[in-house]
Amino acid sequence: MAPSIDASKATRTVALIGNPNTGKSSLFNALCGMNARVGNYPGVTVEQKVGRLVGSSMNVDVVDLPGTYSLAARSADEAVTVNVLSGELANQAAPEVAIVILDATNVERNLYLFSQMYELGLPLILVLNMWDRVESEGLHVDADLIAKRLGVPVICTSANRRRGVNELRVAIESALNGKQLPVEASRSSRALYPEAFLEESKRLAAWLETQGHRLPSYRVDRLIIDSDGHFQKMLCQSGVSEISKHIEESRERLAASGCRVPMFETKVRYGWIRQLIDGAVTRKESRSASPSDRIDRWLTHRWVGMLVFVLIMFLVFQSITLVAEWPMKRIEELQGIASSAVEAVVPSGALRSLLVDGVISGVGAVVVFIPQIAILFFFIAVLEDCGYMARAAFVMDKLMSSVGLSGKSFLPLMSSFACAVPGIMATRTIENRKDRMVTLLIAPLMSCSARMPVYILMVSAFVPATRYLGGWVTLQGMVLMMMQSLGAIVAIPVAWLLKKFFFPGEQATFLMELHSYKWPSMWVVYQRVWERVISFVGRAGTLIFCTTILVWAAGYFPADHSKLDTAVGNLEKLQSQQSELVAKSEQAKGAEDESAVQAKVQELQVEVDQALASVNALRSDMIESSFLGMFGHRIEPLVRPLGWDWKIGVATIASFPAREVIIATLGTIYSLGSDENEESLSLQSQMQQAKWPDGRPVFTLATSLSIMVFFALCAQCSATLMTIRRETNSWRWPLFSFAYMTTLAYVGAWLTYQVFALWG
């Protein structure tokens, strides 16, 4: 609970509901500032978002309901909205007023949801958002006339320009102060339902009452209209198993009397809407070819549209890889500066190791993702707000539907080739829950940039530099390309299997609204980027940080570090002596004792090298006798079939925070220190010389390919897993991702090793 609550006043609750893409989240942010409390409704994947109305003398909680086209309750996810509105959820107070937001440029279709809301008996406020665009779309909307016909206050807003927000706040307050009566049932579209249906609904309600269930009429109606809907299932579960029989009979009687269920509902509602807007919404001219349509003709054109799409995606991808590189490098530099600062002050020991290898690298591991997330969501917000995002999905849909997804999955998956973290966060743009989950679960299979160092190290050390076709094609390049595409190829059957076994049920629909193009609002873009960055740092970031600390502890304890600490102390003393001497030799340039000083420098250099070697050797011992090392030895039988020794096993486990960590860990294990990178020749040659006890080399072509395949398919990236946790609001899915990807990686690596070991 927020600390600012004034105890003398009770907290009042209002709900905000509307179709997708009506500017609902902008309006929510305009009403509540950007401090929403985000959680999850129990049992479903629907996000629960609650904010506090700012600038009000009352304590008002605004519940932001998920964007929806209808209040039908076919699935559990859909039913949540109805349950929230009727106050049936344990952890959520019943709203006293509902704000229904409409796209003022598309009043007719948007009123469908409103017509359902109108039957719930709640006091309503109707918001006509995007009011600033009504004129330019050639429309005339008479808000007063609609308000009069409905008996509901109508507020015109332009949430992206924060216009009309004050009027809405006043309307909310006066509605809460009881100045507004609930809507009259006789005005609702239910009054227009066929007599036969109303009779059946009454009959079913009466029967349910005999069973001890008193339901509002909207729920009883839904029982009859939504075949096999969520409310029916709930009643069956609570012991009213005869309900299905009664519903079936009702439907049969309705069919006999000529009332078609469920068709009549939509027909009646749209009929009611036409009456309501007759004379209140008029189009000034026919929009046969509006400016937006003219733009669309090119942007969805067979060739031009494709080209524009490819160019825009190229720009996005280049930005999240190349443009993000600069700030990411600076973050790494800052990490280095912070580490040296700590090393200068804190003596070698557990505290220094915790600060440098735990805290600083943990913070770095979180902050390093911010540039990519911010850049990707900048583009997503701009493309969504200007209306192109829906066209991009439109253009790509055919291709993506061949793997059972929709066009909306393209951008998240493409972004995952740079990094799965922003890619997974981008799956929020997919409204269909199943498509979103499948996309989110296969996104980590896309070959991200953190896999590249692993491939480069293995390829340059162990794949022969054979060239084909007159030197134009290299074997190394081909192996690299295969590794880069392996994940995406494997993702195709995985997506199919996930759809088939984990998210079965009705066929997904791809009905998508295509809004007119407009200039993006920088306020909306700013909100979007800020919200995503904060949500990543605050939620996923904390978990990523904790994982780094845990893995650090596993690699540090319980080994006795006293020898190492002395050796490091010794090395640092020698190094400072050396730098003093070097400074002195600079001064002594040209002086007579120059050669004597030079000789001393060289002498010291030998000592420093020896000290460094002993430190590196001790470091390697420390990791071997840590929990991590013990665990690595323990699981050696498990990784042997992959052609790995315990060192590779340890390095792989240590790379759980991030894949590229395997290189630093291999460097430490091979007594080279942790500063080794993928192009390090000394690491390559150490690995080439590594032997099994019987003298065979550890790293063969088969082993290195098996490592690469493992890293292509595994989920060794805590940031990805924690982002999945954050985005699905459940531990189930990160655990599932880890389990399925590790299995895939293990089987893939095993097959690779077995095949190539046979080949020799």
Binding site: R109, T266, H301, F394, V395
Partner: protein, 80 residues
């Protein structure tokens, strides 16, 4: 006078039709109707995606994209 009844996905770009029926009783049919595709409603084909599917339509004053499989559930009579 009455023109032949065809599937919505058979209309060409620029053509208009009047919805005659939504075939089926399932989720797709319900969704189409909720989005305002109801009997007697006029509908116009605005354009097709580069790969021919999905198709953009204008109905009730807004633009909606439907996959061919969805559009084929809508029966229309062609208008001139």
């Amino acid at each position: 006078m009455s023109s032949p009844i065809i599937r919505l996905d058979e209309l060409s770009v620029g053509d208009s039709g009047t919805i005659v029926e939504i075939v089926g009783n399932d989720l797709i049919a319900s969704r189409l109707m909720e989005m305002g595709l109801i009997e007697e409603e006029p509908i116009t084909v605005i354009g097709k995606a580069p790969m021919g599917d999905p198709i953009e339509y204008s109905v009730r004053g807004y633009r909606i994209s439907l996959r061919k499989t969805e559009a084929s559930r809508v029966m229309v009579s062609r208008q001139n």
